[in-house]
Symmetry: C2
Subunit: 717 residues, 2 copies
Amino acid sequence: MSLIEATASKARRGSVGRLLLNPASVALIGVSNDPGKASGRPLAFLRRSGFAGTVYPINPNRPQVQGERAWSAVSALPEVPEHAFVMTPTDLVPDVVQECVAAGVGAVTVLADGFTEGGPAGAARIQRLRQVLNGSATRLVGPSSLGVVNLRNGMVLTANAVFGEPDPLVGDILVVSQSGSMIGALVSRGKALGIGFAALVSVGSELDLSVADIAAATLDDPGIRGYALFLESISDAPGLRRFAAAAVAADRPVVAYKLGRSSAGAELARSHTGALAGEEEVSAAFLSDCGIARVHTLDALMEATALARRVRPATRRRPPRVGVVTSTGGGAAMVVDQLGVLGIDVVQPSAETFATLASRCAPASTARIVDLTLNGARYEVMRPALDTLIEAREHDVLVVVLGSSARLEPEAATRPVIEVAGQGLPVAVFLAPHAPEAAALLTAAGVPVFRTPESCADALAAIFSRRFRDLAPAAPGREARPSTAPAATDEAGDEHTAYQVLDAIGVPRAATVVLDGYEVTDLPFGYPVVAKVLSAQIPHKTDVGGVVLGIGDAAGLRAAMAAIRASVARHRPDLAPPPILVEPMLTGLAEVLVGYRVDRQAGPIVLVAAGGELAEMFTDRSLRLAPVDLATARDMISEVRSLRVLAGYRGRPPADSEALAQAIANLSNLALDSKVVELEINPLLVGGMGQGVIAVDALVRMQDTAPGVTSEEGVSS
Amino acid sequence: MSLIEATASKARRGSVGRLLLNPASVALIGVSNDPGKASGRPLAFLRRSGFAGTVYPINPNRPQVQGERAWSAVSALPEVPEHAFVMTPTDLVPDVVQECVAAGVGAVTVLADGFTEGGPAGAARIQRLRQVLNGSATRLVGPSSLGVVNLRNGMVLTANAVFGEPDPLVGDILVVSQSGSMIGALVSRGKALGIGFAALVSVGSELDLSVADIAAATLDDPGIRGYALFLESISDAPGLRRFAAAAVAADRPVVAYKLGRSSAGAELARSHTGALAGEEEVSAAFLSDCGIARVHTLDALMEATALARRVRPATRRRPPRVGVVTSTGGGAAMVVDQLGVLGIDVVQPSAETFATLASRCAPASTARIVDLTLNGARYEVMRPALDTLIEAREHDVLVVVLGSSARLEPEAATRPVIEVAGQGLPVAVFLAPHAPEAAALLTAAGVPVFRTPESCADALAAIFSRRFRDLAPAAPGREARPSTAPAATDEAGDEHTAYQVLDAIGVPRAATVVLDGYEVTDLPFGYPVVAKVLSAQIPHKTDVGGVVLGIGDAAGLRAAMAAIRASVARHRPDLAPPPILVEPMLTGLAEVLVGYRVDRQAGPIVLVAAGGELAEMFTDRSLRLAPVDLATARDMISEVRSLRVLAGYRGRPPADSEALAQAIANLSNLALDSKVVELEINPLLVGGMGQGVIAVDALVRMQDTAPGVTSEEGVSS
């Protein structure tokens, strides 16, 4: 069969998702005769789990493997297998994959490592694999993938020993993991929690298919109703953004656990102040803006999906109004406390609602939580309490905390919750005791249930932090750039260039005069003024003595220009005497840093922070994917703690926050059409109400090359 | 039997701990004939669990209860029971307790609520109960106690239905809980984790016996080797401090889970700047300084004890050097990440150690974690890896992360860890998959084991945050004041008085002149100066226009004095024209807030924060129990992020941190002997190296009354 024929036949066979999870036939290349060995397990697993497709063991050294006929090579098979699991040693992988490509195998999963981790030899192997795949329709999972498992049809194509266990718990969540061992850990943990999965994929090095590609490939799989992503990094931001948008449209929640929270995160090397955000902050903003619930506890990665399914991502983040009903004060207090730590206040029912409660089920007292005490274990108390709160429409979500009754009488304790769970208001349960039977009943009924107060609060915060906006896809050249294509070739512009960009996008900036020589002409503005060295080669002007403030007259300006040029000449003898930029000396009620950049990881982002050293020490800033509208810009301002001064802190007059919001939104529009890859205004002075904002310093970097190949290429779904 | 006889006989019978947990006889007062009712359960539980002591059902309305002979009253019993569980309705409780006191019952546990929660009627009942107990030797648990349970001897004296389950898991931890329902939640959760308890006590309203009293009463119980406290508040700080010190001396770890993390915490109402710490910060510092491991995850409350037992509290907090060994990269990465979030970096073994590892067990690479990959599941790889790291002595604790092998081959996977666990270096295990058999094996061997990355990191952080110092007990009048005795009667002193205190404790302060009239005399210091209103009635001077800065000459000073007096007269027409305090206008490299107060909750504390608004917004401060030594004062400075400027931030000269540390230590010595209940210096100016510090504003409050009855009274252990 020729490559063209094979490609055509594969196109007929359907989507990548089906090839990965529901192949009609699989080949086990390099399968071992020993079912205890990693490369022997998949055959044993497939047989034990009753996979109905055709299985082709391939081992050139043996006529039989584990009692079954073995073939010598893919080319020797009676048909082209739809999915091949390559378990050969690293060195053989490129040739084996080439055989698969030649034969027209639809999907290939590669177990071996030694590619991305393997130094120069690994790099050569990667190069070879890329060449092999280039132009073919064969899609590859891995290398370094522990495998692909579909628990629904027994397609257990993995070397992970945990999948040898009988009776997996089958559910409707797809796990996609950048850590191979975690698919085993998750399947066992899920089982203990009573949470099943539809399928699990270890993506390995993502040489071809990324986390996003694989998840997106299952959007047409009716048995998958949610996604749990275990991430080490965000490898394919544009793809993930597209997948997440499609998942929102399809009403399938995406929950992610991402490592890297604690890495301080490299600050952008050539940034002006160093205040621009690190990797962790960017990925947190990215995931939220994609509508992905990013959890911080491992349990919540599994437990959050059921609740996420009942709460649509909002376009803007608003702290949810959480109501708490309980039969156990201590248990409820833990959830309330954890929620409070995450910035979510439990909302007390109104006096009217409490009056209704009093007449129907007599809660302990008028308090933030509706404490039914031990009586809450009784159906005739809990059910009217829930009905009352649901009818009151005073909350966005109700958390029911069950005590010992959940352990001792699981059916009776869970019945009222299960009955009301479909009535419009999302209801979640936290179980104070260990109560696996109650958990199983609730899970079977689709009621979200949490085993720890931490995962309960974590999931709630993550779910209500989603702020999905259907962003226009970034234009070519403004998508995220993978780390293999650093932006070091981008060109720094001088302050004057930065100001021209501000003029173009409608952000007010200080008037300027550029003085090239030594003469001081009449200025179009009065003294006092500021003089600054103007050079794209000097991003940090103060470091070279390049700034003089508060110049009172022409003589002072002349002296300042001379001083600046002398100092710059000392620090940068390589540069010609630079021109001097002169501005009026302005002040505002507050100084704000507003930045835009095309992030290597997440694409265009916009950032707001207070100017000054303390704000920098406290990492006090707000980040969004760009562009943002005015409402989102206002949200960003409200998220920066030290910008509370804008509202008139301690008797100061309030500042023009609205003009600041407009400036943020305008700057963020650089994402739509511009060659700017970074623009940082620091500071943007904010005046009093109605007095607007004005930029008095800015730094810009422009895209150096014409838009060419972007990371779009090769990605499909 | 007279009261005196009874008391004498009880004294012979032994300690409160024995009476509570190992009584020879118990009376069930108000026991119901229905074993399904709350007041019927204890009899059924005692019989089912085989309690060997004598049980006296008391019910005046029935000759028999649940088939056993019932007595009509305590006075009708053939002997004085050692422990009585009072289950009567609320209104009968005071009389019943009086009968117990009259009879000489050693310990009484009261189930009924309606005391602290019960409004005026409740207050009257409390008053009555106090009178009943006053002067007697009978000790009371509750009211509102769900009971006292000793799992070791079947003394299941509780109405909590969970204790009706057979086969409790018996261990060596005492649970003391301010939430009654949590004793049931914890016993079921502990069982699921494979962690048993020796006994559990629900303390209720702590009218007599506090959490600390009950815990301290078991220090002579050889079957108890650790304490798990579930706290809603710190009710008896002096007692808890004494108990915690005794527990440290007895090598029994104390782990606490405390609610209230999220309550913003009431700021001290009459504080100068509002920057003094809220309740949560104080209790966090208090618990750490007591040597108590305060955890934030519920699992860690149970899981942390085994590790805490192997790590002695340090006198000063130092981030631990944590080593990580794993057979599963993904699982280990979660722990490393969580530790990083909590400020604990995993320490990479030295090159020398890696060389030894390479020769003995070939880890994957030279990295922060020792990743043995799947090979780590083999004894002959894991054991030498552990031996090498233990011998290297480069870590304070080793975390071993086990993967699927822990689930599939629990004995083999845990064997190397169990073998090395006693070899000097504390070793803890995190299980990546759900692996209950491995957990049980490790727990049985005394090896600390964690089921989630969050509880593992939480426990490590809590355990290594303990900074136990054997503080001298605070003198009378300087102990914590319960909220029933507010310090509102304390007397505010004026700034001059505050300066006199500073002089007495050796903290430099600005020179001053007090001007009573309208004349400006020659000042003993030069201009410019500052003029401030001097009045104990005006703590917030700027709020009444009471401060003028930067006064250049005598005329200016005269004008400033008039302006201040005019403004003060407008704001406070009730006051006579106040004197004016004049100081030189001083500046420093940094402004620091240093405060001391006798906290109502924790007793004498000392606080350091940066001056200024931003630092206040970010709650950036450090707190300790007072007094502190120089080394601890240095630690405090290093914990305040915005005080990094002291070291010479961004090219500024370094400041005199050592003088600041000395001032902190000096101020903290107010705890030793003084009538000062609060002293806040804001700001304390810090000069350059060797230039010292100088206070330029201070606020003081002095104890108004002579030391009288303190919360000491009535507490024994």
